[in-house]
C-alpha cells in the first residue's frame, strides 16, 4: 500500500460560524426565552399576589417594615380609621390593621407598604393645607390596598427575580441587580391603577366627609408649582391635570356635593410642640 503525504483537512472538525455570530444567535434566543418567562411569571406572580390573604401579607409586612423608617402618626392613623370605618362592610380594607408612618423625605409622595402600613413623606405633609386633602391622599393609598395594587406590582417583580436566580444563581451580581430593579416597594403603578385608586378615594372621601371638598386641591397646587424640578409625585403618578379632570368627572357624574374644607392650623403630621 502506498502512503501519500497529505495535510489534514481541518474543515470538518471546527465550526465555520464566527463566534460573535453564534453569541448573537444564542443571546437573541435567551432574550426571547427571558421575555416569555418574564411575561408568564409576571402574570402568575400578579395573579397569586392579588389573591394573597391579608394574614400572609402581614407576615410579609413585618419583613419589610424597616424599609420606610419614620415616626408613627396617631393623628393620620385616626383619619385612616375613620375612612376605613365608612367603607362598605364587604371591603377587604376591614381585614387590615393600618398604621401610618411619617418618613422624613422631601418627596411629595405616599406609599402603600405590604402589611397595612402607609408611608407618608414629609414633603407631602408640608404641601397639605386641609384635613380633606390628607383624607384624599390616605384614601388614595387605601384604594391601592383595596385593589391589592401594592402586591400586584411586587408579584409581577418576582418573575424576573426568579428568572435571574435560576439562570445566574443566588450569589450573582446579575440576580442582585434584577432584584434591586424589580423588587422595589416604591414600584410604579399603571395609569389605570392610579385612576382606579383615585375613583375609590373620591367615593371614600364622600362617604366619610359627606362631600368631595379638597379632593383635587393638592393636585391643583402641585400642578401650579411644577417648575423645572418636578416633585416625585408628578414623575411616578399620571399628570396632575389628568387626575384633576378625572376626579372632577367622577364628582360630576355621581353628583357629589363640594363644600369648603377644614384648614389645618399647623403643618400636618408635626407634633404640636414644634
Amino acid at each position: 500500500m502506498k502512503f501519500t503525504a497529505r495535510l489534514p483537512d481541518g474543515s470538518v472538525n471546527v465550526p465555520h460560524t464566527h463566534p460573535l455570530v453564534e453569541l448573537a444567535w444564542l443571546g437573541a434566543g435567551l432574550a426571547v426565552a427571558a421575555v416569555a418567562v418574564f411575561v408568564v411569571l409576571g402574570w402568575a406572580g400578579e395573579y397569586a399576589a392579588a389573591r394573597l390573604p391579608v394574614a400572609y401579607e402581614d407576615w410579609l409586612g413585618a419583613r419589610v417594615a424597616g424599609t420606610f423608617p419614620g415616626q408613627e402618626s396617631p393623628g393620620l392613623a385616626g383619619r385612616v380609621e375613620r375612612l376605613v370605618a365608612t367603607s362598605p362592610p364587604g371591603s377587604p380594607l376591614h381585614a387590615y390593621r393600618f398604621r401610618v408612618v411619617v418618613v422624613d423625605r422631601p418627596d411629595v409622595n405616599a406609599v402603600a407598604v405590604p402589611g397595612g402600613t402607609i408611608a407618608v413623606f414629609r414633603g407631602l405633609l408640608d404641601q397639605a393645607r386641609s384635613g380633606n386633602e390628607l383624607d384624599m391622599v390616605l384614601a388614595h393609598e387605601l384604594g391601592h390596598f383595596a385593589h391589592r395594587d401594592h402586591l400586584r406590582n411586587l408579584g409581577r417583580g418576582l418573575g424576573p427575580v426568579v428568572l435571574g436566580l435560576v439562570l445566574f444563581g443566588r450569589d450573582s451580581a446579575v440576580s442582585e441587580l434584577v432584584a434591586n430593579l424589580c423588587l422595589t416597594l416604591e414600584a410604579r403603578y399603571s395609569r389605570e391603577q392610579e385612576a382606579a385608586a383615585d375613583r375609590f378615594a373620591v367615593d371614600l372621601l364622600v362617604a366619610a366627609n359627606g362631600h368631595a371638598g379638597g379632593a383635587v386641591d393638592l393636585f391643583r397646587r402641585l400642578a401650579a408649582e411644577a417648575g423645572p424640578s418636578l416633585p416625585y409625585v408628578l414623575a411616578s403618578h399620571p399628570h396632575p391635570a389628568d387626575r384633576i379632570r378625572q376626579i372632577e368627572a367622577r364628582i360630576a357624574s355621581r353628583g357629589y356635593p363640594v363644600r369648603p374644607t377644614e384648614p389645618l392650623d399647623r403643618p400636618a403630621g408635626r407634633p404640636p410642640s414644634e
Binding site: F3, N13, V14, P19, G27, A173
Partner: protein, 159 residues
Amino acid sequence: MLEIVLNNLGLFLFVGLAVLGYFAGGLAERRHYRSIREREAELVHLPVVSSEDILPDRPVARSCLVTGSVVVSIDYFKRILASLRNLFGGRVGAYETLVDRARREAVLRMKEQARRRGACMVLNLRLETAVVGRSADKKRGLGSVEVVAYGTALVPPRG
C-alpha cells in the same frame, strides 16, 4: 459612574473578562492555528497511521514509544458561549476549535519526537483525552482538557 461600577462590580467583571477572553483567546487561537499549519506542512512526509500491522517497505532496526501531550484551557468568552449553548443544545462550536487544536498539536508533538528519534514511520496511533484541573468538573470553574497522542515509532538502521 464610579458608583455604578462599584455597586455592580461582579457584572462589570463578567463583561470585562468576556471581552478579554474574546480578544486574548481569539489572538491565541489564530496564532496557534498558524503554527499548527506550518508544522503540519513541515512534518507531512512522516507517515503516521492508526493501523497496527502496516510495515514500511524498508528494514526496521528498532521501535520505540513516542508520545505528544497537550493541555489547553478554555477562555472566559468560550465558557459563556458554551454555557449559553447548554441552554439550547446543539453543536458546541466554542469547544470544537479548542479540541481540534489540542488534538492536532498532540499529534504534531508526537511526530516531532519521532523525527528526533530518527523514525521513518509511526504505527498504531492512539489518542486519549482527560479533563484536568481541580475546577474542571465543577460547574463554575474554567476547565482544561488534555489530549495525549501516542504510537510506535519505527526507526530504520543507521547509514
